[in-house]
Every structure is written in C-alpha cells, then in structure tokens.
C-alpha cells in the first residue's frame, strides 16, 4: 500500500527557522506557554512545524512508503476522506510542539526522534499457553487479542458472543459491514492539531469494534488484550477501537496493554466511544508494558442523555506514557467518572490528561487521579473541566493526589476549570506530599518494620483508586499488579 502524500505538501511545511523566543527565566511571567494554537499566532510560526515531524512522516507514512499491511475499506470514500483529512492535519501541524500548553510537560522527543517501523504480521505463532497468565482473570470473558496491532483469532475467544452483539476486528467491519462504523469512526476524536491521533487515523488498520444493541446488558467483561512483540527493530502499533453502545445497553470493557519482549516499541492507540441515551460503559485501561516502551493513548467518549461512562486507568509500565481520556457530555443527565493511577520509577514519565466537556444541563462528572512517583520519575496530571454555556445544574469534582517517594522525582499537577455557565457546582483539589509521618510512626510503634510500614501506607494510598474497579476479579488482578510493582521498587519488606 502506498500513501500518496504529495511532495509539494512536504515542501510547503519546510520550516524557515524557529521563532525568536524570550529567554526563559525560571520565574518569568510566562507561567504558561502559548495557549493559542501555534498556527494562529503569526506567519512566522505558522510554517514552523519542526523538521522532526516532517522527517517522521516522511520516513513512516510519506511518499512512496510501503506499509506492511493492507489498509481496510479502500473503496470507501468516506474513509479515504477521513484518512486524507488526518494526513493533511498532520502535515500542517505535525507532532505536538513543546510550546503547546497541553503538551507542556510531555517529552515527546523520545518518540519523535525514534526510529519505528510498522511491524510485519508475526511469523512465529504464539500459543494460548504463553499468554495464559494474562487471560485467567475471568474465564468467561469475551476476548480479543491483538499481536502487534493485528487481530489474532486463535488467541481470542469470541465463540459465545450473543448473536445480536458485534465484537469484531475493525478491519473486518470496514471490509464487510462499514455502515456500522461509518457514523462514528474518526468523528468523535479530533485530528486537528492532534498529531498522534492524526497519524493513527491516517494509517489505521485494525483494532476492536464493539457494538452493543439497545437494551442489551452483557454480563461478562470484554477483554481487549494488546500484545507487543518487538523482535529486533522497534515497532509502532496503532490500535484503533470503536465502541458503539446503543441506548440502555450496558457492558464492561477491559483494555490491557502488555509487552511480550524486552525491546522498545511504540503504541499509539486511539479509542472512540459513542454511548447512546441511558447506556452504561464500565471501562478499565491497564498499561503494563516494558521499561523501554512508549505509549500514547487517546480515548474520547461521546455521551448521550442519562448515560454513564466510568473509566479507570492504570499506567504502570513504559518509559513514557501519555494518556488522554476525554468525554463529551452531550445529553442531559449524563454521568462521567474518570479515575486514574500512575506508578513510576527509574526515569519513567507518566502523563495523564483528562478533559470533560459539560454541554448539557444536569450532568455530573467526577475524577480521582493518584500518582506514586519514585526515583527519578515524573508524573503529570492535567485535568480540564469545561462547563459550556447553558449547562446548568452541572455538578463536577476533580481530585489529584501525588505521593513523592524520592528526592529526584517530580510531580506536576494542573487541574483546570473553565466555566461558562452560572448554575454550577464545581470543585477541584490537588495535593503533593510524602507519606504521613504520624502514620508511619504509628505503624512502627506497633512493631511493624519501617519498610513494611512504608509499603502498607503506599499501597493504602493506591487502594482508593483500585477499589473503584467495579468487578472483583479485575480489581484483585490490578491490585496484585500494583503490589508487585511496588515491592519491586520499594524492596521486599
């Protein structure tokens, strides 16, 4: 498959040099980077998409570039047009720039400077036994397994999917029943000034498609397992998911990202969710990739009236992980709950962003995000809550708490409220601190060794978020994962 980005496009974006910038004094009045998109600033900056983005595009998606996979739905005009728009967006804006407010703290150069190739379909065949430890949480789960982004039927378990439901590979849907995806695909996320989302859309080929029809409740969770197996050269996988919940339907979806090898890989996933009126999605996202992995995840939900979207996100692995969870409350009485937890050590960087848009009256949203930061790691929380004109009766809260375990770790927190209505109740809070000295003393005075006491309290800090997983077996599984990681860097008691 050849992507035909025109050479002239590439010439156009050649940068005339970076704009002149003021020297950044550590205490300058620039407490924020330019808020306006760069492209709107001036002619000078308009063309300054950096060389990195260009060459990245050129190397990976550019002119005459062979992709190792077939892009599905090639005869679909709407899909071609989606890809084209996304490609144009990327060419115009490139990867997010450091100066962009919402990417202020994210070290994207790890990704943009790296060399990644789209993987060939895996030649070796994985056995179910090899992934047994990853699929034992709920034996009756519906499971889709993706290896390096390719749907892998023999590891999956979709036999018992009730006939009225659709749980299939997106590629298959685009080839055979594109009408199911057309009203939603690439219409919920933005690719405009969203470089990562744009490159996913440009070359999207596979992922999970879930459709739950109206008034249907699924009792067992749907488990989407993404296995990354990078044999020698670092690879890029771009899962693309679409969940469509018709009115009053209900299901739980678990997204689970794991590395099967020690090599670096880059996962750039995009998930779009459409919840009809009264629909309920209980969503868990667990990222536990290897210490060299890079992970960018974009998830956007659109919620109908009285729908409920709960998303619990656990970022435990990878060298760099940036996760954006957004929800648009477009129907009255919708409820959105986004929780997050990150646990980092070494030089890892975790970046958790949320954005909740209250468009309609009487919606509720709630967020709890916690971070534990050890060694030289860095954790970033940026939560944005926007209450649009007319969204009266909004009730929203947002809480971020960080535990710093080392002198070299850093926590950045930016909980934002943007309110354009008056009949609202919004609150947010953020804290950064260390373990409570009194509690530590209390435990040690009861004869518990200091190290064990630290473990207990740290785990206790995490517990609040773990408890929010409304599914016992998965809750237990996540708790064990976190306990194991904690023991790993705090040392066994």
């Amino acid at each position: 498959m050849i992507l035909d980005a025109k050479t002239s496009d590439l010439n156009q974006i050649h940068s005339p040099g970076s704009p002149i910038k003021a020297k950044n004094s550590s205490v300058s009045n620039k407490i924020a980077a330019p808020k306006k998109p760069l492209a709107e600033k001036s002619e000078l900056t308009k063309n300054s998409i950096n060389n990195t983005s260009q060459s990245w595009f050129h190397r990976n998606l550019g002119t005459k570039r062979e992709l190792p996979f077939r892009l599905p739905g090639q005869n679909l005009e709407w899909l071609q047009s989606c890809r084209k728009v996304a490609r144009e967006h990327f060419i115009k804006y490139g990867f997010p720039q450091k100066g962009e407010e919402s990417w202020k703290y994210t070290r994207t150069n790890l990704i943009t400077k790296g060399e990644y190739s789209f993987p060939e379909p895996l030649s070796i065949k994985l056995d179910v036994e090899e992934i047994a430890h990853l699929i034992q949480v709920d034996k009756s789960e519906f499971r889709m397994v993706f290896v390096n982004g390719y749907f892998t039927p023999h590891l999956s378990s979709l036999m018992k999917v009730p006939r009225e439901l659709t749980i299939k590979s997106l590629a298959e849907i685009l080839d055979n029943r594109p009408e199911l995806a057309e009203p939603y695909l690439a219409r919920i996320v933005k690719t405009d000034r969203q470089g990562f989302c744009a490159i996913n859309t440009t070359a999207m080929n596979d992922g999970a498609f879930i459709h739950i029809p109206a008034n249907t409740k699924l009792t067992h969770p749907i488990h989407l397992l993404y296995l990354n197996y990078s044999q020698n050269k670092p690879i890029i996988c771009q899962p693309r998911n679409l969940f469509v919940f018709d009115h009053n339907s209900e299901a739980m979806v678990v997204e689970n990202h794991v590395s099967l090898s020690e090599n670096s890989h880059f996962c750039n996933s995009v998930t779009e969710i459409d919840l009809g009126d009264g629909a309920k999605l209980n969503h868990q996202w667990v990222q536990n990739e290897n210490p060299l992995a890079l992970h960018i995840s974009t998830l956007t939900a659109k919620q109908g009236a009285d729908s409920q979207f709960t998303s619990n996100n656990f970022a435990l692995g990878a060298a760099l992980c940036r996760s954006d969870v957004d929800s648009k409350l477009e129907g009255e009485g919708a409820k959105c709950t986004i929780n997050g937890f990150y646990l980092t050590d070494n030089n890892r960087h975790m970046d958790f962003h949320t954005r909740i848009d209250h468009f309609k009256p009487h919606c509720r949203s709630q967020e709890l995000v916690k971070g534990i930061l050890a060694q030289k790691s860095r954790g970033v929380f940026n939560g944005k809550l926007v209450v649009h004109p007319g969204a009266n009766g909004t009730d929203a809260s947002q809480k971020n708490a960080n535990l710093l375990l080392s002198k070299e770790a850093e926590a950045d927190s930016k909980p934002e409220l943007e309110i354009f209505a008056d009949d609202v109740k919004c609150a947010h809070g953020a804290t950064v601190g260390q373990l409570d000295g009194d509690a530590l003393f209390y435990l040690t005075s009861r004869g518990i060794a200091k190290k064990e006491a630290e473990q207990l309290l740290t785990m206790g800090f995490a517990q609040e978020v773990i408890d929010l997983i409304d599914h016992q077996p998965w809750q237990r599984w996540v708790r064990e994962l976190i306990q194991k990681r904690l023991t790993h860097f705090l040392g066994a008691p």
């Binding site: 550590s26 407490i31 924020a32 927190s413 909980p415 609150a427 809070g429």
Partner: protein
C-alpha cells in the same frame, strides 16, 4: 476591631447611597496644562524621557538595552484575555503636568488643581487634611506630583520618594536593586516598562527599622491617549518592616489606555513587606467600551532567611487585568502570601493570580483567591506553585473560590503545581459556584432586598481577603465591591 470596621463600612455605604454617586465616581478629568511628548516609540523617545529626568548613564543604557530586547519579543497570547492589537506607535509615553517641571519642593508649590483632583479622589495631600499615619506619594500621569510626610519618615531613616528623585539622590541603591527581581528580559510588558518608565515610588527601609506609618502611592492617569508606565521599588533591609498601599483611578474615556507597571520588592533577613493594592482603574462602560489595560508585573523576593512578603489585592477596575504578584522564596524559612479579590462585570476581563517559587528550605506560602464574575465578566485565576529540588520542607496551601453572578459570565481556574521535593506539602483547593439560593432566601426573609443581599453575601465571601487589608483600605474595598455589584442582579 471587627465591629468597628463594619460600623464604618455601614456608615460609608450609607454615605454613598445618600450622595447618589454613579458607579465610577473617579471618572472625572482634571483640566491641567501638560508637558507631553509626541506619540511613538523609538530610541529617541527613550533618550528624551531619560534626558527630561537627567538620568545617569547607567539608567539610559539599561533602558536602551531593554528596548532593544523588547523589539525582539512578541506580545504574549497565552493568557485567557482577548483584546485588539495595541498600536504601540500611537501611544504617548510621557505626559507631566506643566507646573511640575522640576518636581515640587513642597506642597505649597503643587498646582492647586492637582491638589483638588486628589482631594476629590479621597486622597487629600495638604498637611492639615492628611490621613494620620499614612504617607502618600501622588503620581499623576508620568510623574510624582507630591509626597507627604517625608520629614517624619526621614527621622527614622526611611526613604520614601518619587522614583526619579531616588535616581538623582540615591543612584547606587537604584543601580543595585533595579531589575534585580524583575529583569527587563522577564516578559514583554516588563521590557516595555523598563524602556519607558517615567516615575513611580521608591522606598528604602534601613536595617532594623519598622516604618512608623503606612506608605501609600496613589496613581492617577489623567491625560488622554497616554500610557502609564510606573515602576516601584521597595527594599526592606534586615530586620525591618514596611506596609505599603497602592490605589489608582483614571477618567472615563472611550479609548482603552495602557498601564504597564513593574513592582519589585526585596526583603532581606527577617524583613517584612506588606503590599496592598486597591485597583480601581476605569473599567470601561457597560458595553465594554474604554477602560484601562492593566498589564502589570509585580514580584517580590524573600532574599534573606525568615523574611516575609505578602501581597493583598482588590481588583475591581480595568477593562483587562493581567497580573501575577509573585514571591520568590529564596531565604530559608521565608514566607510568601497572596490574598486576592478580583471582580469582573460588564465586559471586564481578568487573568490574575500568583507564583510562589520555593527555593529555600522550610519556605511556606499561602494563596487565597476570590474571583467574582458578573454580567459578561471573564475572570481567570492562574497560579503557579513551584517547589525546587532543594526546598526541603516547603509548604503551600492554595484556596481558590469563584462566584458566578449571571449566566453570561465566565470563571476559569488554571493552577500549575510543580513539585521536585518529596518533603514538600502542597495543597490546592478550588470551588466554583453561584450564590446559594438558600443564602439569598435567608437574607431576603430577614428583609434585605436582593441587591443588598447579594452585596452582603459577596462581601462575606471576600471577608478573608479584606481582613488582610489595612483598615482604611478595607473600607474602600467593601465600598468598591458594593458599587461594582450594583445592577448585577437579575
């Protein structure tokens, strides 16, 4: 104390009602002959300003360096405020009342018209009418026209004078501290100010001296089409303390006017500086026409151990406010605080907050911000709390509340928290809501009409900030707030 205060407030409020003063009583123009230079900005203009003030070479070169730097900068666009592009070449950068050519030697020489203007503003400058215990520096457009109580202050070794006088008399102090907290490279408006600043207040409190009275500067923009670029520098030597108040107003005009000031505070070991502002620049009319662009850089540095700097501001005026009074907590055990009430109504915009930069050990900071947004008002809190790696034991507590009045207003909160030290404790809390129906019903059931009820509830909402203000200012603040809210109901 509290009782006395509210009694005064009640009395003053009644007084205002009796007088039937309009919502911006300071909006008058004083007719006075002025020495005004032509509009435009280039190196010649800067040389002109500098030569009018007989400045030493170091200052002129500093101005020119700042100007050259400014020319390389772009106007910042990151804040949430929006305004049409400013044509810097159409502004006048220097305008002084003619009578003041050499600066007044004594109050007798001050043009009576000016004295009347200040008296009308409630800031009498004649000795017999002076507010006891307050020394006033009156700045009119580009220059200081009078400074009171100077002899009494001199007895204690406190220097309080117009900035230009300090340049002439104490050049070594000015050279040592000017730009040491807010360098001209800091930001666009700081660079502009450094290039063209014309006057302002200078205060130096020697070692161990507790300044015996409140110092205050009243800034007045009078001339049309003129920017005001004043610069204030306050230095508190080891073990000293000073409380400084700042007030301001401008005539009602249809054009926007630019005010780009810089304030630098330096607190040495054990020194304390309390800086209070009641900002009441002309806010523009109910349609959003006219008003001051208040683009100000204020920063204090707790240079010595155990020093303290506190900012208290009540911002009711200006079409646009863009300011972040900040504290650099360099000295160990130093303390910074920021207490703010910002009111926006009609089409006013405010993007304001603070920065607390914790560098020293056991430093602590407190932020209390109350934003009130009415009409089409746009009110954003933007604050940064940064704890550097070496700032062991740093503490911050931030409370940020926004009150919404009317469905067209906006309230935004943008806190930035950056912590690099595990022993730090940083807490941020924010709420946004409208006035509770229950409170309103309760007050109305007791017989208060809705406007009075709102005014009372809002004043209560701001009480924690007002109580940080010196008494006279607290009264002023209550009054201003009530005036600002008039007509906000419904």
């Amino acid at each position: 104390m509290e009782l006395a205060l509210w009694e005064i407030i009640m009395k003053k409020t009644t007084l205002i009602e009796e007088l039937g003063v309009a919502d911006y009583p300071q909006g008058f123009v004083t007719d006075i002959a002025a020495d005004t230079i032509p509009p435009g900005l280039d190196e010649n203009i800067i040389r002109t300003i500098s030569s009018k003030k007989n400045e030493p070479d170091f200052l002129l070169s500093w101005r020119l360096a700042a100007f050259r730097h400014w020319q390389t900068l772009q106007e910042p666009s990151w804040s949430s405020v929006r305004y049409p592009a400013i044509d810097y070449q159409s502004l006048v950068y220097y305008s002084a009342p003619k009578s003041n050519k050499k600066g007044p030697a004594s109050l007798d020489e001050v043009d009576p018209e000016l004295l009347r203007a200040y008296e009308k503003l409630g800031v009498p400058l004649e000795e017999q009418k002076l507010l006891s215990g307050v020394a006033v520096d009156a700045v009119f457009d580009s220059v200081s026209v009078a400074t009171t109580m100077r002899d009494q202050l001199a007895q204690h070794g406190v220097i309080f004078c117009p900035f230009s006088e300090a340049v002439a008399k104490y050049p070594e102090l000015v050279e040592k501290y000017l730009g040491s907290v807010v360098p001209y490279r800091d930001n666009y408006f700081a660079a502009l100010n450094a290039s063209v600043f014309s006057d302002g207040s200078f205060c130096y409190v020697p070692k161990g001296v507790h300044c015996p009275m409140e110092l205050s500067t009243y800034f007045r923009i009078n001339a049309a089409n003129t920017g005001q670029f004043e610069r204030t520098l306050i230095i508190a030597e080891a073990g000293s303390s000073v409380s400084y108040l700042e007030g301001c107003s401008a005539p009602r005009r249809d054009e926007n006017q630019l005010h780009a000031a810089v304030v630098e505070l330096v607190a040495m070991e054990d020194a304390q500086i309390k800086y209070s502002t009641v900002q009441n620049w002309y806010p523009g009319d109910s349609q959003g026409k006219g008003g001051i662009y208040n683009f100000v850089t204020k920063r204090g540095e707790c240079r010595g151990a155990r020093s303290k700097i506190s900012w208290t501001q009540v911002e009711t005026g200006s079409a646009i406010t863009w300011k972040y009074p900040s504290v650099i907590l360099r000295g160990d055990n130093s303390t910074g605080s920021f207490h703010s009430v910002a009111v926006t109504r009609n089409f006013q915009q405010a993007d304001t907050g603070t920065k607390m930069i914790h560098l020293g050990r056991n430093t602590s900071s407190t932020i209390l911000s109350k934003g009130i947004s009415a009409g089409h008002g746009h009110n954003a809190y933007r604050g940064l709390v940064r704890v550097a790696g070496k700032a062991d034991g740093a503490r911050n507590h931030t409370q940020c509340d926004s009150l919404l009045i009317g469905s067209q207003c906006r309230a935004h909160t943008y806190p930035y928290i950056e912590v690099k030290n595990p022993t730090a404790q940083v807490e941020h809390e924010a709420t946004t809501s409208k006035i509770s129906e229950d409170q309103l019903f309760y007050c109305r059931q007791r017989g208060l009409d809705p406007e009075d009820a709102i005014s009372m509830i809002v004043n209560g909402f701001c009480q924690d900030v007002f109580q940080e203000l010196p008494m006279e200012f607290a009264v002023e603040a209550h009054k201003l707030l009530s005036l600002s809210l008039e007509g906000s109901v419904g």
